[in-house]
Amino acid sequence: MFQQMRKKSLGIALLLVAAFCFSLLTAGCGGAKKEESKKPVVGLAISTLNNPFFVDLRDGAKAAAAANGLELVVMDAQNDASKQMANIENLIQQKVSVIIINPVDSKAIVPAVEAANKANIPVITVDRSAAGGKVVSAIASDNVAGGKLAGQFMVEKLSGKGKVVELEGIPGASAAVDRGAGFNAAIKAAAGIAVVAKQPADFDRAKGMKVMENILQANPEVNAVFAHNDEMALGALEAIKAAKRTGILVVGFDATADATKAVNEGVLAATVAQKPKEMGKIAIETAKKVMAKESVPATIPVGLELVKK
């Protein structure tokens, strides 16, 4: 009986180890490789890789890191602020030279930034900013200007009057706040334009669709939709199509591959192009400057442009 139990215990242990080794093997045994390289390491703590925008940002950073002779360690918080905190603690444990953070939440990231400060590791934020702690440089699109671009386009297309819906990003995220501010400033110039619904859909396509479905139920007349990102805009388009409503102008933000295609097909009226790859590249270049103790600007705005057919 005891013998048997011991055998089983050993079995469980072996299975656990096997599973662990399996995961390492499938991941290409990243650990063994790391020991060999002596390149300076930069950590990138990203909010989520379940969104093409941030995948582009990572790809831009990866390419720039390779070009600049740096090793890049990417950590994915899966949009969970507490997971991001753990990710950054783990980067601090690895004693990376610089930590580039793309925060899940501007406020919840502050203790993590402070932890990096305490470990004397310089912090750069990218896309979203941190509400506190010491950040050497904040790299972000000029979102207020981008929101204005979208608003001005809408005013022009609607000839200054109509009923407008705003799909907001994650409440409190600086990108959502700024894009909304720029957009609302632009449409305020046209007295005939009224925002009939304003709802958060968390930058998520499925939520964008669901929220838009509900808004369409509640509002028999909608002339245009501004979504704080393309994922929500594309979700809204699905909802509009499903409700068999026509003549609704949808404007997104980010110019992801899907959205650009939709603009070319004439389904999406326009999207504001951020340059996520450029952002990733600038982040790495800034990190390199920080490592060389060169001075860097406290904020680096990255340009935007309106993509329309």
Binding site: Q4, F20, A27, A108, G172
Partner: protein, 314 residues
């Protein structure tokens, strides 16, 4: 029989999970020179503490043969209430006490739905999970709450004798739960309810009361862990804790507690929670892509359940 009794009330039911944990640590030490440092070990235990505290409640629930899906939502609910009270100028201890009580109240609702309304635990706690998340979003207006007094950060970010406060709290809760399960009548009744509810009821024990207490405790612990998390992030996130119920269930099952109830230990759960946390930390340190990390976690959980099934069969 005597041997069964001995293993049932031991701190750890068998050595399998512990051995797994030790081997995992040895492998990681060999692969990363950053793993086995005091700094990283404190770091990883602090990361584990929130899931571990939730998992204590989950262990009690699963021992009775039930399940609690609402813990992640209760975490966000309690965290938001305490943070909201604090940012509104409430004193520290009352704010924490009210947050914990709110979690316990949610747990009590779970218990009442199960024992009085006769709704199966899976469905009852699924309903409370959704409602508690809704309440949290209503209370916070969907926005993170900040602006708590500086002293609040001690709970999640402070140290006692060099050990992170959440780790101290976790250890105290584990020891208390272990003593409760092994040394008190209440603890023995929890096992009895999970082993055979009908027989336990017929032997004159008020099984409904036991279940009410267990679900209330699970809610209380989830609420408390939510307050620790709000302190750690110095902000309460309305979306915090999504999916945490699954991590807690995984920790309990990895620790050798049977999903059909009546068998399991609190020490096993601690080891289960450590395995999950160390797996995350180790794969992070080794720079394994987060996508593969999820694959690894899934495989480990499936294997543990499979082994549990085999053990019961054999």
């Amino acid at each position: 029989m005597s041997e069964e009794k001995k293993t049932r009330f031991a701190f750890v039911r068998n050595l399998g999970p512990l051995l797994g944990l030790i081997i995992l640590c040895i492998v990681l030490t060999g692969m990363s020179d950053r793993f086995l440092t005091m700094d990283n070990l404190l770091n990883v235990t602090r990361q584990v503490s929130i899931n571990a505290v939730i998992s204590v409640g989950m262990t009690l629930v699963i021992l009775t043969g039930g399940i609690d899906l609402s813990v992640g939502s209760i975490l966000a609910f309690s965290g938001s209430i305490t943070a909201g009270l604090l940012s509104g100028g409430q004193a520290l201890l009352p704010a924490i006490a009210i947050g914990v009580a709110a979690g316990a109240a949610m747990g009590l609702v779970n218990g009442l739905l199960i024992t009085r309304a006769g709704i199966p635990p899976f469905i009852a706690t699924l309903g409370v999970m959704t409602a508690a998340r809704g309440f949290t979003l209503v209370y916070t207006d969907g926005r993170p709450i900040t602006g708590m007094q500086e002293a609040f950060r001690f709970l999640g970010g402070g140290y006692i004798a060099g050990i992170p406060v959440p780790v101290v709290i976790m250890l105290v809760i584990f020891i208390a739960a272990h003593i409760m399960l092994t040394k008190t009548k209440f603890g023995r009744y929890i096992y009895a309810v999970g082993g055979n509810e009908e027989a336990t009821r017929l032997s004159g024990i008020d099984t409904k009361k036991i279940l009410l207490a267990v679900y209330t405790l699970a809610g209380l612990l989830a609420g408390f862990s939510g307050i620790i998390m709000a302190s750690r992030l110095n902000s309460a996130q309305p979306t915090a804790g999504a999916g945490f119920e699954l991590d807690a269930i995984a920790a309990v099952v990895l620790g050798g507690t049977s999903l059909s109830g009546g068998v399991g230990t609190i020490g096993g759960t601690l080891i289960g929670a450590l395995i999950i946390g160390i797996l995350d930390n180790g794969l992070n340190l080794l720079n394994v892509s987060s996508f593969y990390q999820q694959v690894a976690k899934g495989v480990v959980i499936l294997l543990a359940v499979y082994v549990d099934k085999k053990r019961k069969g054999g």
